[in-house]
Symmetry: C2
Subunit: 362 residues, 2 copies
């Protein structure tokens, strides 16, 4: 087997080895088909089975009922920043946005092009190191929807439970923690997530939308920006990312085989605890960015005393086979992204490395 | 080696076996990297090399000079149907569209949402069986641009040379014949093409845009729909389809290794001739849809006397290992898509099969 390193990249990110091996084995020719997954028509029976199974497995994993439609679109979460307001803002043309980091700010920016947007809460003055409390949310009961970002990749914070919005539809950018635990989809009007963290390669975006919200999509919308048209065409108004959907299908099967999302959540908590414990027990050598009650299970962000020391650690870690620990270019510091597919052993090994680094440099 | 069949699919379509084998070998772990191409950050040095090499190879293959920018976007040609008018229609807000099939009609539909659109020519009354002559084009010298579709996958027609538009920028949907021959990019203002025919998997779209046209992209455009922002961010405003760009890079290397686009064009002409000769010499048993001077080198469309006979041929061909010969669901009949990667041997074998079928059923 080819050599692999520990990949802490925030996304595109580590995928399950079983998924990669199966995709590799069949990349030249799908068994019984005689063509590569890259070469088959999206209108073929082979692909129809792939997309239907991926949808069915997502329904099983998340208990999604028939009130919801599942879409596989292109353009990443960034295109959803526009599609959400374009489709869901009418007819009231006002929405509430909760700001917990760079991505929610980007979502807000596009929404402002469409209608009246209110910032329902923001933790920017705390350098986005925490999730706002329910009592801090200034929600308009007449808003078209409330938008939030469930996990903040850059700052390493995560909502422990959804904001309560009453009858106002809840819209969530779940790009960086989708499928890391079971959520109650019935609490949501729309969930979107770029695949390239827990689900698959970049270039495919999962959208789960409550059917009644499709009525808001106006005929005047550009076709490719219209949820209703994508639903009517089962994500195949035009050619979707067939390979991306295929990989999502392999990942959902891997999740089912490994105990589903409850088992995944249990492991994710254990994995994150290993690293957070190391940080908390370092006598301040490692400083976690996120407040404890807002810590992400997916992205662990921390700092050292100086930028120099951070650079030294990153350089030595990379040499030792721990890749992708550099924090996002906009905030610096360190970040360990430890998605579903990241092995527990990788965290145990990282902690050994970090303790050694501290003893030499502390 | 795993068994493969002859894949006549219109897209996603056949890819070079060398490309599939290299992608397969490295899918689990890129040599010297220790991660899959599916797992590496788009901000990594590894990916930076991949995207820059793909761009450089496209520049070599098509002699693209520094007046042009190369983008790898998402959403397929269908999203370009909207992005082109949204970006290029201002400030005059009028454009000319030449209709040669279903795809140009779809492009027209989105353009109408943006500004005043004139149909400069249409061959719909001939069931799109031909490309209009230059003398038939009713062009406005003051239009923002002229849009045409270089190859019509569904009807099997193709422009032999570009329409002449004087100083008005020429915009081309080249989804289904991009890279099948060398074109003079300097004749174009913008060329776009979904990758899933001659270039790679579905989910990545090539856009080549003349730099001066970027000035038309207004700041008020949604970020993901703004060419200028994609150029400023080298196609990485958000995460692009990293795998798609990787495969395009392998395909461009394969093209270079096999003599470039002139060699490809020579082979494509030979390949198409094999099938068109069979049709022309069948005493009317096989009837080509396209007029001879408008025939596509990429998609050969033809009919038999009855739908029953067509179904019989498709069924027997599929059983014999010739897959994807069914015509587009909107027009019926038969279609053999024979892109760059399709082997000459496959056409020779198909013709043997077709002659046998004729002798049994003629």
């Amino acid at each position: 087997m080819q050599k692999r390193i520990y990949n802490f990249s925030a996304g595109p990110a580590i995928l399950p080895e079983d998924v990669l091996l199966e995709a590799q084995e069949n990349l030249f020719s799908l068994p019984g088909v005689g063509m590569s997954i890259l070469e088959i028509s999206h209108r073929s029976k082979t692909f129809d089975k792939i997309i239907e199974e991926a949808k069915a497995d997502l329904k099983i994993l998340l208990d999604i009922n028939d009130n919801y439609e599942i879409l596989f679109l292109q353009g990443g979460a960034s295109l959803q920043f526009s599609m959400v307001p374009l489709n869901l803002m009418p007819p009231k043309n006002k929405a509430d946005y909760i700001l917990t980091g760079s991505w929610s700010k980007k979502a807000l920016k596009e929404a402002k092009r469409v209608g009246a947007v209110k910032i329902a809460a923001s933790t920017e003055e705390n350098k986005f190191n925490r999730i706002p409390k329910q009592s801090e949310l200034n929600l308009d009961p007449d808003a078209s929807y409330v938008h939030f970002t469930s996990n903040n990749t850059i700052y390493g914070t995560e909502w422990k439970s959804e904001p309560e919005t009453g009858n106002v539809p809840l819209v969530c950018d779940a790009s960086s923690d989708m499928l890391h635990k079971k959520i109650d989809v019935n609490k949501y009007g729309l969930i979107y997530a770029g695949a390239q963290k827990n689900m698959g390669p970049s270039g495919v975006t999962l959208v789960i939308i409550r059917k009644d919200l499709l009525e808001r999509s106006a005929d005047s919308l550009h076709t490719m920006l219209n949820y209703k048209i994508h639903v009517e065409n089962n994500s195949m108004y035009n050619t979707p990312s067939t390979f991306g959907i295929y990989i999502i299908g392999l990942v959902t099967k891997w999740l089912k085989k490994n105990g589903g999302l409850d088992a995944m959540y249990k492991t994710n908590k254990e994995k994150a605890e290993i690293l957070y414990n190391c940080i908390d027990n370092s006598n301040g050598f490692y400083k976690g960015h996120a407040q404890k009650d807002s810590r992400s299970l997916m992205n662990v962000t921390f700092n050292l005393a100086t930028e120099e020391l951070e650079k030294k650690l990153i350089s030595e870690a990379t040499a030792a086979g721990f890749d992708g620990l550099k924090g996002h270019r906009s905030v610096g510091g360190l970040r360990a992204s430890i998605y579903n597919a990241f092995p527990k052993k990788g965290l145990e090994d990282l902690v050994v490395f970090m303790k050694e680094f501290q003893s030499k440099n502390g």
